[in-house]
Every structure is written in C-alpha cells, then in structure tokens.
C-alpha cells in the first residue's frame, strides 16, 4: 500500500485517497511545435526502472495536485512537494542522490 504525505494539508494519505496523474514536470508543446515535439509531449513518457517524478492528486482530501519522487523498482518514496515548480526541489534531489549514488540526475 502506497502512502504519500500531501504537502499541502500534511495528511499521510494512503493510495485509495489519492489519484495518480502520471509523469511530472512535462513541458507543454505549443503552437509552432514540430510533430516530434507533440509526440514527445503527448506519448513519450519516461518510464524509468528507478527514480520517477509523478503527479498525484489528493482527491479525497484537499483536492490539490502535488508531486512525488518515488522509486518504481522498490516502491520507496523519496518525498513529496507542491506542484508549483518546474523541477524537483533541491532537498528532494539531494535526498535521492544520497540514497541512489548512481542516479543520473533529473532532466
């Protein structure tokens, strides 16, 4: 059972209280983008076996979207953070690096 702490209301929410929303920090393709860019934006998700950044919604709680850093190979949760950011905060990245020295980094 996956448990994520909602960074807004501080509730340690278990999975049935949450709705998964897929990969985080996607950059939307805009007018003038190429077919390749649209394809990447719409379909080409990162699907790493390891560190993954995702969107979640505290749907049966405060209703807000937040982000989580998780390991898809072990289900370990590195941390959660508010969605109003374009990249994972430094403390989360440091925590991941400490636990996964060979992590190739965010990007």
């Amino acid at each position: 059972m996956l448990i994520l702490e909602c960074p807004y209301c501080g509730v340690k929410a278990e999975e049935t209280e949450l709705t998964p929303g897929g990969e985080a920090h996607l950059k939307r393709a805009g007018p003038g983008s190429s077919d390749d860019e649209f394809e990447a934006y719409l379909f080409m998700r990162k699907n790493p076996k390891g560190v993954h950044f995702e969107r979640w919604r505290h749907s049966h709680g405060c209703g807000k979207w937040f982000h989580a850093a998780r390991c898809t190979a072990t289900l370990e949760v590195f941390g959660t953070y508010p969605a109003q950011t374009t990249e994972p905060p430094k403390d989360i990245q440091d925590r991941i690096r400490a636990k996964r020295p060979d992590w190739e980094g965010w990007a």
Binding site: T16, P20, E39, F43, R45, N47, K49, T72, T74
Partner: protein, 415 residues
C-alpha cells in the same frame, strides 16, 4: 529431432518406469554470434523464434531470458483468448492468433490445452450495450464470429450468474463461442521445445545489460553471460521494453504498471465459459482443477515490482460477488502481479525502430496472451521480409502521425 509425444510414447515410457523422457529443450552455452537474437523468452519472443524457423528457415537464433522462460507475464496471466476487437488491424492479428491456437497442440506436438469454451463480455450499462452491439457489427465485417445475446441466453450459458443487479444488472453480452482459454506455461514450453528442436538456443539466466550499435546499426548485446553479436535483434520484453529501448538509445510510448490476478480454492465444475465484466473491472473462468481464476484492473502508477495494490483486488472481488453471489464464501488461494506495458491507444507495437536491425514487439499490456501465435507469426515475417501486412498499422511511429488503433474506448480493461 527430439522425442515425439504420443500415447505410444507414454505406453513405452510406462514400461520403463518413465525413466527415458528426454529434457524438452537444451540449455546451451551462448555462442559468439547469431543471425537473430531475441530478448525475452515469454510467449511472444518464443513464438517469434518459432515462426522465424518454421516459416522462413532462419534457425541461427538465440532467445535470451533474464529469469526462466515463461516466468514473465506469460506465466502470470489468466489465459483468456478472444478476438472480438473493434478495429480492423486488431481483428486481423488477434483472429490470426486465435485460429493458430486451434491447431497449436498438433503443430507443436505439445498439449497446450486450448479450450474454446466460449467467452462472454457482459454488458452492464446502456453504454456497454451500444458499444458491444457495434463490436458485433464490426466483427461481422471482419469475418470474426461473434454475436449479441440477451440476458436469458446469458443465464442459460452461465447458470450461476445474477442478472438482476441492482448495481450491475446484466443487460446482455457480446458472445464469442470460439473464444476460451489455454494452458499458459504449456504455450511457452511447447514453443521452447519446438525451437530447441530446430537448433535454436534458448538461454535462461542471461540478462541483457547493454545494446551495442555502430553507425545506427545493431552490432550485438552485452549480457550477464558475456557479449553476443547479432545481425538482427528483437526486443520482446513486455514490462521491461522501455528499459531495453533506453539501452538502444530510443524511447517507446510505453508505461509499465502492475496488473493482478487471483485464484480460489478448487470447487466442483460450475461455470464452463469465460465471463468478463468490464464495467466492474473483473473477469472469471474456472480452471480444469476447479479453481475460479479471477483477474482485475491495473494500478494507475508506474511500477516494476510485480506487486500490485491490494485495494484493486478488493474492488474486483466486491463487484464480482454481486454478479456471482455463489463465490462469496470462496477462499482465495493465491494472488500475484505482473508488469504490463501500456501504450496510449491500448494497442501493441510490432515495429522497426530508429536503429537499423532492431525490432520491437511490445505494448500488449493486459491482453497479449491471446495474441502469442499471431504476434510471433507476424513478427517473424516483419523481421525476415522487412514488412508484414499484419504489423503495418502497429508501427511505433503511429503516435506521431495520430494513426491510433484505439481499443481503449471499446473496453477499459482489455484482457
């Protein structure tokens, strides 16, 4: 050529206390180089190898498997076989597969226990009624034998069903009389034995850890048992397809998620068809041993652990009990998960890739067991000839062009 299995062979072996059975396939050391390397000894990888040999005479082939053969989704699925899809390209490849299942035991000289016992997809909402009627019409045009049946006929076929609801009334069903089940392990074992007989090497405990390319062409793979060269490489790794694509330097439109199933204690025969209930994300059949085999929905988040979330099992069982009240006191014996490879349009990918000589067969998601022989047939043709009428629409580049083969509208769960 290995031993032929028959009733006479059993009788002969009985005389010598069954001491004379040979191993069904060899376990050779990897050679330095093969014409074709296939990564993944699941049903799709093994079937690809089999048809490369049988239909095209290509037998200098190795199938590399990181665990044991059939230990991926092929050995974890609930074995539903049907071909009642909506879109033409799907109907073509799934119906090819279903028809090959009919003669598979004879073709492979291996009993895969194909049981075309009939399959019902229940309509439990007005929308499903409309959707399935549409599928029946589409299937007529495609030459796939399905029919729409009303609630009374459903009750005749499935006496243990509760038609009334109230939550999930049974309004009818999409019925495919030639759908059914087969023994999943046997499909992998039968192909493995036939491939080994043709001189192919099936190498277990051999994980591919890197893919070597040169000037945009494949050179070979690095494995836990050393480097091996090849002219052509097929990635047939289901939930691990993205990991392998990354080794080759490209990305696939795939996400890996857990899908679970469970079986009950064995009971007397009470249901001789397969029943799927897509509204409630559950489906059920009874195995020859008497267990009720139950499958449910996928988790919503990326996962490589072969472990799913418990609440999905609870949801599936809770809903199925309304439709099959008789199962409410059954004890569940086992529950397990597999990592399935989901594409955006819920259709598979059988395709060339940006790297010359590398082919990919993946994206079968929650429903690829039924497709194994058709997929292997088509994939072998694609690899040997460079094109196949069955794979044309399933290219990995269809997403860029917006040419989806949309099966997700037809059924949220598509086993």
């Amino acid at each position: 050529m290995g031993q032929k299995y028959s009733i006479f062979a059993i009788a002969r072996q009985a005389m010598q206390y069954h001491q004379g059975w040979e191993r069904a396939w060899r376990s050779p050391e990897p050679k330095r180089k093969y014409d074709v390397i296939i990564v993944g000894a699941g049903g799709h990888g093994l079937a690809t190898a089999y048809y490369l040999g049988r239909n095209f005479g290509i037998t200098n082939v190795a199938v590399l498997e990181k665990g044991w053969l059939g230990g991926g989704n092929t050995g974890r699925n609930t074995t539903i076989i049907r071909s009642n899809y909506l879109q033409d390209p799907s109907a073509a490849i799934y119906e090819k597969a279903r028809s090959l299942y009919e003669t598979m035991s004879q073709d492979l000289n291996y009993n895969v226990m194909f049981s075309p016992r009939g399959l019902l997809m229940l309509a439990q909402t007005e929308h499903e009624v409309r959707g399935y009627k549409r599928t029946v019409h589409a299937n007529r045009l495609q030459g796939v034998d399905t029919e729409w049946i009303g609630p009374q006929r459903v009750k005749e076929l499935v006496p243990i069903i509760n038609l009334e609801g109230p939550r999930y009334p049974v309004l009818g069903a999409l019925y495919q009389a030639r759908g059914g089940t087969a023994r999943h392990d046997a499909v992998a074992w039968g192909y493995a034995r036939a491939c080994s007989d043709m001189g192919m090497d099936i190498i277990q405990q051999c994980e591919v850890t890197g893919i070597r390319t040169e000037g945009g062409r494949v050179k070979g793979v690095d494995t836990t048992r050393g480097p091996i060269d090849c002219d052509k490489l097929a990635l047939v790794a289901a939930g691990h397809s993205s990991v392998l694509a990354e080794m080759a330097g490209f990305r696939l439109p795939i996400e890996s998620v857990a899908l679970q199933a469970l079986v009950s204690e064995p009971i007397k025969p009470c249901m001789d068809v397969v029943v799927m209930a897509n509204t409630v994300h559950g489906y059920m059949s009874q195995s020859d041993k008497g267990e009720m085999v139950i499958g449910g929905g996928t988790d919503g988040f990326n996962n490589y652990t072969q472990r799913g979330s418990f609440h999905h099992i609870e949801e599936t069982v809770r809903a199925l009990i309304e439709t099959f009240p008789i199962i409410s006191r059954l004890k569940m014996l086992r529950q397990w998960g597999g990592i399935v490879d989901m594409t955006g349009d819920r259709s598979p990918i059988l395709s060339k890739t940006p790297v010359e000589g590398i082919f990919v067969n993946c994206g079968w998601g929650t429903g690829g067991f039924k497709a194994i022989p058709g997929s292997g047939w088509a994939m072998a043709e694609l690899m040997a000839r460079g094109h196949s009428p069955l794979t044309e629409e399933f290219t990995m580049f269809r997403f860029r062009e917006g040419k989806f083969i949309d099966e997700s509208v037809a059924a949220g769960v598509a086993h």
